[in-house]
Amino acid sequence: NAGVTQTPKFRILKIGQSMTLQCTQDMNHNYMYWYRQDPGMGLKLIYYSVGAGITDKGEVPNGYNVSRSTTEDFPLRLELAAPSQTSVYFCASSYSIAGGNEQFFGPGTRLTVL
């Protein structure tokens, strides 16, 4: 199993550009999550999904959109990039919340908006 994979690993955007961060998991997990990590701020939940076709907002959803058309994929879309979106983005997945919601993380995407 590859686990959780994310592409790209690095990206530089100009203000106002758009892009999609890809996330795929091959563990047949129902739950998927997008976080951003800023220095000294820990992990902030952007969006999450409890299954295909179902998404919900986390703590910091503004400026982002998600979709979940399949169990495996959970792309994160930035429509109009802003410098405040410079961050490291992690995707995670878990099989079930019953028994604890242990999450498995991808390698991250480092995004810089100039």
Binding site: G40, L43, F90, G100, Q103, F105, P107
Partner: protein, 113 residues
Amino acid sequence: AQSVSQHNHHVILSEAASLELGCNYSYGGTVNLFWYVQYPGQHLQLLLKYFSGDPLVKGIKGFEAEFIKSKFSFNLRKPSVQWSDTAEYFCAVHPGFADKLIFGTGTRLQVFP
């Protein structure tokens, strides 16, 4: 609101020193508890977890954590740290049947030889 507090933001130790990182949470019901580790330039990996049973949990690389329900705490310990333990450590709580984890802000550990 539910929250997780990690009071130590940055810890600096010499090799062979003992380590204890604090984690407190605010939720009165049943919880599942996690410690994740993030080595420099890498993604988060699970260090250990508590679901039920023995409140003293042993994880990988000699780490352990103790769940003290009365104190709402889940502190991480290691008797003797190594240079390779240099990393950021995150405590996370799964309250009840929530759809998500609540993460602390992390503790950066630097171990010098």
